[in-house]
Structures are given as structure tokens and as C-alpha cells.
Subunit: 136 residues, 4 copies
């Protein structure tokens, strides 16, 4: 997976425009991993007995999955690069990962899928913030 | 279409939490319309002879479609409502609609699909900003 | 909404390739309406007291939303049109709409959002099948 | 990435229902990798000089990205598992990966991003077919 993301981004003919390719590839990977973890965690919550306590977790997971998937797609595009637009999307993604990570972390002791998902959110939030910082 | 969005949002058992339901429904509709218009415009650009001049338009259309679709989904969820997260997503959506609307508008005189799409972007940007304002 | 879908599809420079433009536009609209209704219904289920009985509904709604959104996007593209690919996607979309419509219909008497969503699924399934038939 | 997919799927409380968890996890990973590769390849094509010859590639990449992303999400859900629905989605995904892989392969000698993408499509198509076979 990691190889495909790096290989296809490295093969893009457009000038990277000052973007750190390693941070970019890592952020795309973390967004994809987080989107999938959130989708799977939301569904796993639906199979738990204490589903009522997990309702907000299902909802936040779904939001996080949608935003992370959109962010991975936007970051994968390098033609006609626009720093302002990249910033706006990364800022929203970091915000939703922070909210979802906190919600999942509050259930992590009882549900392994929430623990795995909280960790994926934390890594994605960090990768978004690292990329934001490097944009200058 | 408009009826389905309003009907299903009106049937949600959660407290609307101070959100103006009419502005919410309108924003969801505009996000869906804009996402579809951008997807169709990007593809229509690929069938134009002057495709090289439209490369940035295709790219921005694709970003706008992804963010608008994610925003429509986030706004359609009312369980465990979070104003901060809603703001972050609406801000990103308004930013990408502004960028895409400007790009499409620059081709509107020569390409009808760009004209229709620029108008959809403008309406979606306005709906996002109206909803942002009403969040207080 | 309806006007935007028709206008942007009508403005596409590619030859329609024997596809009935009215059925195509209607199918795109129904896919978008169904995707949104399913996303909203899944979330509304999470705010119901009898959430345990609705777990499968939430899951099926989420699948239906994802497939309908992808189908709307595929149908909105006319460049390099491929009948076989269009058939495969419409077949999957009709299948998931049938499954989701049946699940939602089983809760329609008690939950208005399930009733609205079941109707949106039924209309989308019909629009997919109508378009499939017209492809010859 | 691979670890997150396996870990979160392994933590799901629902009975796997006869589905081979390793093939499932591999298929989810290949769908995510293929979706990202197609999104990046479509955009890379827009930065090539011979963009006109790549118009169909951009379109097919976009379709493949949408269907692979939806398939990864559907496969990540295990609550209320439905074999028929899983079959329909995997069949559509294998079809679009085959079409996109063939289109990308025809440009692989001149464009490295098309070569990487063709390989991702081929692996995803294989993973979908392997999972389909194992469903019995």
C-alpha cells in the first residue's frame, strides 16, 4: 500500500511546488487508513450490546471517514496546486480526526475496535498537522 | 429531490440544537447539486478540444465534488451534533466552492457546462456561508 | 436540483451514445436523493431508543449511500462511454437499493425516516432498472 | 496501513459468517490502494502534454476510484452481512478494475503513473475475484 502511494505520487509530472513529498505521501496513507478504520469501527459498534452508548461514536466515525477520504483524494491531486485550498481541507481533516479520536478513545478500554480507531485518528491528525506546518 | 431532503431531515428524532432546518436543508441540497455539477463538468471538459486549457478546471472540479459530497453527508447527520466540527467542514466547503466557482467562471463564456457549474458553486458557497452565519 | 443535473448533462459535448438523456438524468437525481436519504436515515436510527433493532438498517443504509453516490458519479461521466461498465454499476446499485428498501420498509410503520428512505430506495431501484432496460 | 485494516476487522464482534478474513482484509487494502492510485493517475494525466490521448484514461480512473472506495467501505462492514449484496458490489468492482487496468496498461510504456495504476487495478481485480470465489 505504502509503496503504491509513494510510487504514483512520485510519477506525477507536475512540479511539487515546495510540498514535502514524504510528508504528503504519509498524510495520504494516514487519511486512507483512518477512513477505513472509522468505517469499520462504526459498523463494529453496531454489533456491540451497549450500542446506545456508542451512538455518538458511530456518527463521528462516519463524519471522519467521509472527510478523511475526501482529503486523501484532494492531496493525491497535484495539477494546478492551490495552497489555500490544501490548507482549508487539512484544517477540517485535523479537526474531525481530533473529535473522532477523542470519542473513540473514551471507549477504547472496553472496545478494541475503538482503541485501534482512536490510534488511527491520532496518527492522521498528526500527519495533517505536520503537512500543514510544512506548507509554510 | 428537495422534498426528500427536507422530509428525511424533518423526521430525525434528535433535537435540532439551534440549527435553522431550512438553511440546513438548502445547504445539503446545494452541496449535492454542486458535487454532481462538478463531476459532470470535469468529465465534459475531457471531451472538449481545448482540453489543455481546462486541466486545472478538471482538477478543481474533482476536489470540489469530493468536499461537497462529504459536506452533504456530515450535514445530514444530527446525532451527537458538534458545532465546531460543522464549522470546520462548512469553512472548507465554502473555500473550495469559491476556488472552483472562480475557475469555472473563467471558462463560462466558451463552455456551457462551466457556466452551469460556476453557478452551482456560487450557490453552494452562499448556502455554506449562510449556514455558518446562522450557527452563531 | 433537477434543473442543474439536466442542464449540466445536456451541456456535455460527447455523443450520448444511444443513452436516453431523460432516463439518465432521472437516474442520477434518484441516486443522489437516495444516497442522502440513506445517510440521514442511518443517523436518525442512531437517535432512536430502539437502536438495537435498527442496527442492520444503519448498516444497509450506509452501503446504499456509498453505492448510490458512486453510481451517480459514474453516470455523470460521458467521455469514453462504456456500456458494460455502466451495466455492472447499475446492477449493483439496483441490488443494494432493493436490499436497503426492504430493510427500511420493515421499520416504516414506526419510523418516518425509514418510510421516507424506503420510498427513495424504491424510486432509485426503479430508475436504475429503467436505465438498464433502455441500454438495450 | 495493512496492520490497521487487519486489526480493526479482527476486532469486529460480529460472526465472520464464513468469510475468509485474510482474503477480506487483502481485498479492502487493494481497493483502497487502487482508489488512491486511480485518483492520482487521473490527475497526473492532466499534467501530461499528450492529455488528449489520455482523456478516456482520466474518465475510467475516476470511475474506478469511486467504485473501489465504495467497495472498500461495504467490505469493511460486517453487521447484518448479506452475501448477495457483497457479490453484486465485488462483481462491479472487478469489472471496473478490469476496464481501468486495460486502459492504463495501454499507456504504461509512456507514463509511469499509468504503469503503477494498471498494476494496482490488476491486483484489486484479482483480490475481488479471489474473495468472490471464496464466498462459495
Amino acid at each position: 500500500m505504502s509503496t503504491v502511494v509513494k510510487d504514483v505520487l512520485a510519477a506525477h509530472p507536475a512540479d511539487p511546488g515546495g510540498v514535502d513529498r514524504d510528508r504528503l505521501a504519509r498524510c495520504v496513507e494516514e487519511c486512507l487508513a483512518c477512513a477505513q478504520a472509522c468505517t469499520a469501527c462504526a459498523d463494529a459498534c453496531l454489533s456491540e450490546e451497549m450500542i446506545t452508548e456508542l451512538a455518538k461514536c458511530v456518527r463521528t466515525d462516519a463524519d471522519c471517514a467521509d472527510i478523511c477520504a475526501a482529503t486523501a483524494a484532494v492531496l493525491s491531486r497535484r495539477t494546478g496546486y492551490d495552497t489555500g485550498l490544501t490548507r482549508a481541507v487539512l484544517t477540517a481533516c485535523a479537526a474531525v480526526c481530533e473529535a473522532c479520536g477523542a470519542e473513540c478513545a473514551s471507549h477504547a478500554e472496553r472496545h478494541e475496535h475503538c482503541r485501534v480507531c482512536a490510534e488511527a485518528c491520532r496518527r492522521c491528525e498528526q500527519a495533517c498537522n505536520d503537512l500543514l506546518t510544512s506548507l509554510g
